[in-house]
């Protein structure tokens, strides 16, 4: 069926080209039926891309090695789950996934907004069409997943690093995030093209941005967990260029989600918001470029390809085109209100934005500098961990503190008296925590101690906000405490859901500080029966076991673990030898303590004489990082949950302007 796949992708290319050209002409000449036809073309493009994707999935499941892509990325022995995940395991499949998600997002954005925001959608369609055209061109002309060959007996298999359950969810979620940022970008450009300076584009895209941002956040955490389990170096984030590629758009989108509130509450920062959307979208394209072009050497980059120049050209086009449009519409975007005080909620949001953008730019420079150095001077340069860690402290710690300050400061301005009233308790909690930790010996890492104290401050503020809010709701409406609490959240999901997300970031900060500033590592070469001590743990190398896995030979060193004399069972670490792929992977042993959040992490290098070289890490609080993911998801869901009251208010607003009644 490769012909069907190819035909479907050619149809997609034609449809998105039509959406771009007909959509732009219809919006310019105000042609109603042509505009609707262009919208339908985007819907049809999703259908054709879905057909192409199903053809590829069917070929993967059937082990149809006449497809070059299937033969290059799977083998007969590969378990079915990983066989399906090979869809995004290679270059061509990844690009097809981008296109599938993009046309899916585009179709959903058109369907959900074609009535309520139809005046904007007419301009959004050609923008979405233009972005989709680029990716459709890539999968039709440059990197087709439907190339065929004489059928070989077996395939080359999937890179062992990708044979991990987290790899079944991590790339699709990252792509959901990357691609999802196209929607706010398209609406922002649509609003500028339509000469609309109101908030309609923000209202229409708030949830899309949140979905993309949540997917990107969760995707990164799953990626970090994959790196922790699979890469076998003892960490979860190495400031690798590809890891940074996902972090940068997430940081830019975080800045946008905050600054957009200033536009909604105060009518300010219109230009800044549009610029942030362009920045976030361009970074998502840059991230895909970094991952897919093979331009950087990365443990996460599994391809070398020729799509780099195409991507660079497209990114330049997007950045220059959108900035030119912003410049052309500057007079429309002037704010009518000003910042009244440097001590106000909007000012803290502004500081937060500046820090987030500064952090993003420093990371971007760290990623770009080695590429530029290689290209311009021919010198290979590496920007290492100290650079990123330094700037993470410089910008990250004040950001953490601001998360606590922001919610306590009123909009417009706050007096010293008000600040004293609200800051007393959280400050007390932060100082108390700092002193207790200092007494317990946490002063060995000053940044770690500061991070913990700031975290306590933020958690204190969040708790105070919930307690005061619930008390006030109960005083207003009566009823039980749980009822008042749920009412409080239901009446302002954005604010209280946001606090839950802040709590997740605090958990993340505590987990990172604990596992990086206070971790320990011990290493030794052991013969069977010998013991290594690591912190409070003692590990005895009991035996070496060999067993057959689904598609690999598993070799494991088995260690008996005890802590302070208590037997904790065994932990296994070793190697997997993959037959079809002819590769060996490191398989680490992890023993998690869910009560303390601590991990015992073991890496084993097995020697032919039966001895093994062990590296044993004790990582305090590392499990809080993964717990943060769950809390982050909960907070995001609270914010994303439909708010009937808000929808009624918006419906009234747009009905008053006659928008739903329009053709």
């Amino acid at each position: 069926m490769p012909e069907l796949g190819r035909a479907a992708l050619v149809a997609t290319l034609g449809l998105v080209l039509y959406a771009l050209v007909a959509g732009a002409y219809a919006a310019w000449r105000r042609k109603r039926r042509l505009a609707l036809s262009a919208q339908n073309a985007l819907l049809a493009a999703f259908g054709t891309t879905l057909v192409a994707s199903l053809v590829l999935v069917a070929a993967l499941i059937r082990h149809d090695f006449s497809f070059v892509y299937v033969a290059d990325h799977t083998s007969r022995e590969l378990p079915t789950g990983y066989t399906i995940s090979a869809f995004w395991g290679g270059q061509e499949g990844s690009l097809l996934l981008w296109l599938l998600l993009l046309t899916g997002y585009a179709a959903a954005a058109v369907l959900l907004n074609r009535r309520s925001a139809r005046d904007l959608v007419v301009w959004v369609v050609p923008v979405l069409g233009a972005v989709a055209l680029f990716f459709a061109f890539l999968v039709v002309v440059v990197a087709t997943p439907f190339a065929t060959q004489t059928t070989p007996a077996d395939g080359a298999g999937l890179n062992p690093s990708l044979q991990n359950p987290y790899m079944m969810a991590h790339p699709p979620l990252l792509y959901l995030g990357f691609v999802g940022l196209t929607v706010p970008f398209a609406f922002a450009m649509g609003a500028l093209l339509a000469r609309r300076a109101d908030e309609r584009w923000i209202v229409a895209t708030r949830r899309w941005t949140l979905v993309a941002w949540t997917a990107l956040g969760i995707g990164q955490l799953l990626g970090a967990h994959w790196a922790y389990e699979e890469v076998g170096w003892g960490g979860y984030y190495a400031w690798d260029p590809v890891e940074n590629a996902a972090l940068m758009p997430w940081l830019a989108a975080t800045a946008f989600l905050h600054s957009v509130m200033i536009q909604e509450k105060r009518g300010m920062l219109k230009v800044w918001n549009v610029l942030l959307v362009i920045f976030a979208f361009s970074l998502s394209l840059f991230g895909t470029f970094l991952t897919r072009s093979g331009i950087v050497s990365s443990i996460h980059s599994f391809t070398q390809s020729s799509i780099g120049p195409w991507f660079l050209g497209f990114i330049c086009l997007v950045v220059l085109g959108s900035l030119a449009l912003v410049l052309a519409r500057l007079p429309l975007l002037r704010a009518r209100t000003k910042l009244e005080s440097l001590v106000s909620r909007e000012a803290t949001f502004l500081y937060n934005n500046l820090l987030l953008v500064a952090l993003t730019l420093t990371i971007l420079w760290g990623v770009v500098y080695p590429i530029l150095s290689e290209a311009v001077r021919g010198e290979s340069v590496t920007v290492g961990r100290p650079y990123y860690d330094f700037f993470l402290r410089v910008f990250g710690l004040p950001l953490l503190l601001l998360m606590g300050i922001g919610p306590l400061v009123a909009w417009r301005r706050a007096s010293v008296r008000s600040l004293l009233l609200t800051f007393t308790w959280p400050l007390g909690v932060a100082l108390g925590t700092g002193l207790v930790l200092l007494a317990l010996g946490a002063g060995s890492s000053i940044p770690g101690l500061i991070a913990y104290s700031f975290s306590a401050f933020v958690l204190g503020t969040i708790a105070l906000e919930f307690v005061r809010g619930t008390r006030a709701r109960r005083a207003l409406a009566g009823g039980s405490w749980p009822r008042a609490f749920s009412d409080l959240i239901a009446r302002n999901r954005r604010r209280y859901g946001g606090y839950v997300v802040h709590a997740a970031i605090v958990l993340l900060a505590i987990g990172i500080a604990g596992s990086s500033a206070y971790d320990t590592v011990d290493e030794a070469r052991l013969a069977q029966g010998q013991t290594i001590a690591a912190g409070d743990y003692r590990l005895t190398y009991r035996s070496l076991e060999e067993r057959a896995g689904a598609n690999a030979t598993e070799l494991r060193a088995v260690l008996d673990v005890s802590r302070n004399g208590d037997d904790l069972g065994t932990v296994e670490a070793g190697k997997n030898g993959y037959t079809a792929e002819r590769q060996v992977s490191t398989e680490v042993g992890i023993r998690s303590d869910l009560v303390t959040g601590e991990d015992l992490f073991v890496i084993a290098e097995l020697n032919p004489d039966g001895t093994a070289y062990f590296r044993v890490f004790v990582k305090p609080l590392v499990n809080l990082i993964w717990l943060a993911g769950l809390v982050f998801l909960l907070g995001s869901l609270i914010v994303l949950w439909p708010d009937a009251r808000e929808q009624r208010r918006l419906a009234t607003r747009y009905a008053a302007a006659g928008i739903p009644a329009r053709r």
Binding site: S37, V51, S418, L476
Partner: protein, 111 residues
């Protein structure tokens, strides 16, 4: 190959029908022009945003005052301008919404 051709042809036909649907449904429309927001309606929308913004901030201020986050002095200094802003937007919207409704009714009558 044959099955692929048949499926491909069906897919192409489906796409053409979907894209042509607005023309098939409405071959000879009385009006094929997309409406756009007039100056009056744009202004109406901007005023509605100002009103919603002021009312929202006012509501939040009341709640923050009730929780004790905003002191009495801050509340008194902030609530006045906010109320004036909201009242101003409401006043400005009042005749406009009447005007817009009237013009729409007038337009419908003429059609």
């Amino acid at each position: 190959m044959t099955l692929a051709l048949v499926l491909g042809a069906l897919l192409a036909i489906g796409c053409v029908i979907l894209v042509a649907l607005p023309y098939l449904r409405d071959p000879e429309p009385a009006n094929d022009r997309l409406d756009s927001l007039g100056e009056l309606e744009q202004r109406q929308l901007e005023l509605s945003e100002v009103r919603d913004r002021a009312l929202g901030t006012l509501k939040e201020l009341e709640f923050d005052h009730r929780t004790g986050k905003v002191s009495d002095d801050d509340y008194r200094s902030l609530v006045g301008p906010l109320r004036r802003e909201a009242a101003g937007a409401l006043r400005a919207l009042e005749p406009r919404s009447r005007e817009t409704t009237a013009s729409r009714v007038d337009l419908r009558r003429r059609v």
